[in-house]
């Protein structure tokens, strides 16, 4: 079943001068058709300015199409009466955790969303507990968010979204400001939500290693979807990705370089395990 659907979605940023006359129009998203099924883990890659974030903001009705339409969980985002339902279905996580946390205490922050939705108090506490546990932050429930590391703060933000029981979470570069451990924690939490709770995840990132577990990768350039496929399919096109200002995971580059030096390795190796197996075959250590 498709959870999100965009049909010929285009969006223009309109620049106006001081008198309100149109000075210029920039087409940030250009005729995009994507479909996301419930339970999928989707990664979106693209250079700065490729339209990824603009697209993401359409998925929970922060922006509305200039042309075309966006459907989330059976509702058209342009229909103003469904905006709140859509934001409940599709939660959003941004780059800077400091901008997303408002509570003085972790559990209070996480409870803010459901409280705002008018959920009965008892159920709020239940939801807070579930969500904090699902991101591994339950033991910090009484802490002040200021005392947490970047990765922990970001996981609290994610718990805050989960507490609203969304069907889908859109994460716009959630790890860009984090240290290696924080990045690992956030990605692990996202994968667990997807695999265990079956929450649909749409992850925007500049870290190629974070997308190898995605079901599907969508690559954007100049507002258009230019590539789409499994991580292996997409990362097999190393030269094309470089042209798009992108990259491939380190192990994929390593395999690619080894191939250039004459080793017969398959394209699109994504993990150290795969590289090891391929090398073992080559060395006659394995059939």
């Amino acid at each position: 079943m498709s959870l999100i659907n965009t049909t010929n979605l285009s969006f223009d940023y309109i620049k106006r001068d001081e008198d309100g006359n149109v000075e210029g129009i920039i087409r940030a998203v250009d005729d995009v058709n994507i479909e996301v099924k419930a339970g999928e883990f989707i990664a979106i890659l693209g250079s700065n300015g490729s339209g990824k974030s603009t697209l993401a903001k359409h998925l929970n009705a922060l922006l509305f199409p200039t042309e075309g339409s966006v459907w989330v969980d059976g509702k058209n985002t342009s229909d103003t009466s469904s905006v709140w339902d859509i934001r409940k279905s599709a939660g959003m996580i941004f780059q800077n955790p400091d901008n997303q946390i408002i509570g003085q205490v972790v559990e209070e922050d996480v409870g803010f969303g459901p409280e705002n939705m008018g959920i009965p108090t008892e159920e709020i506490w239940q939801r807070v507990e579930e969500s904090l546990k699902s991101v591994g932050m339950w033991e910090y429930r009484k802490s002040s968010p200021n005392r947490l590391s970047g990765g922990q703060k970001q996981r609290v933000s994610i718990a805050g979204v989960i507490a609203m029981h969304p069907k889908c979470i859109v994460m716009d570069e959630p790890t860009a400001m984090l240290d290696p451990n924080g990045r690992y924690e956030v990605i692990r939490a996202a994968r667990a939500l997807n695999e265990v709770e079956n929450v649909t995840i749409i992850l925007i990132t500049h870290y190629m290693e974070e997308v190898i577990y995605a079901d599907r990768v969508i690559v954007m350039d100049k507002g258009k979807v230019v590539m789409q496929g499994t991580p292996r399919e997409v990362f097999s096109n190393i030269n094309k990705l470089k042209e798009l200002r992108l990259d491939v995971p380190q192990v994929t580059i390593l395999a690619h370089e080894l191939k250039k030096r004459g080793l017969m390795l398959p394209e699109g190796i994504l993990t150290a395990e795969e590289l090891s197996v391929a090398l073992q075959k080559l060395a006659g250590l394995r059939e």
Binding site: S47, N48, D179, P180, N181, G182, Q250, A283
Partner: protein
Amino acid sequence: MSLIFNHVSYEYDSNSSVKSYALKDINLTIEDGGFYGLIGHTGSGKSTLVQHMNGLLHPTSGEVYYDGADIADKDYDLRALRSKVGLVFQYPEHQLFEATVFEDVCFGPKNMGLSKNEAELRAFTALEQVGMPHDLFYSSPFDLSGGQKRRAAIAGVLAMKPKILVLDEPTAGLDPKGRDDILDQISRLHEEENMSIVLVSHSMEDVANYVDRILVMNRGELVYNDVPKAVFAHIHELEGMGLAAPQVTYIMNKLRDDGFNVGLGATTIDEACDNIMKALGR
């Protein structure tokens, strides 16, 4: 002209009964023409350390010397120091404010009291150094792409002709090409202008590929100060500090575990390739 930290500690709330240290007994020399990577988890004291480098913070004990003078001295000229030790903050593009890129870059040198001509000459050179296309010199900073804004902001610091350039995560949020471009430019400044560079980074790969020495901060202490290979050999200790080794290091460890006789010291793709070819006898 080196920058020396001598037993530098910095305490928060020095009045309260519980002492909490942001920096603890740091001894460090930033040598002329060195290229340093500064790594550490969030809250490890990296930013506090960096703010001591140009006197934005002063030690609660110990001294910081630049060119032989204690920068906390009452009559020390901090303004002059800040043009010698240029600090590029995280997301520096948020600090762009003039109507054009060129005017923005002129701001620093003008503020140093240089003539209009000299300031403009420096702005021009700085913008060229960061590879800003000429046709964008007079655009509004807000019309530039993310990577270009970042360059404009770095140029603003370069225009003061610093001897030491300190950059706090200059590639955060940039796409891979933008990241490589900025790091290549910084590397060129290091080579061509013999500028000392301190690069604060969360990317172990970037640090492994570019710097000569790595400084590792953990809980306010400087735990390692060594060449990348030596630092990344402490892979388990680094993980314990919320850090990591470059991914190729993990790949090589995996190959070793699976029976390949590969050398483990590789921290870059090229070295890893060499080691694998060697292990396969090719």
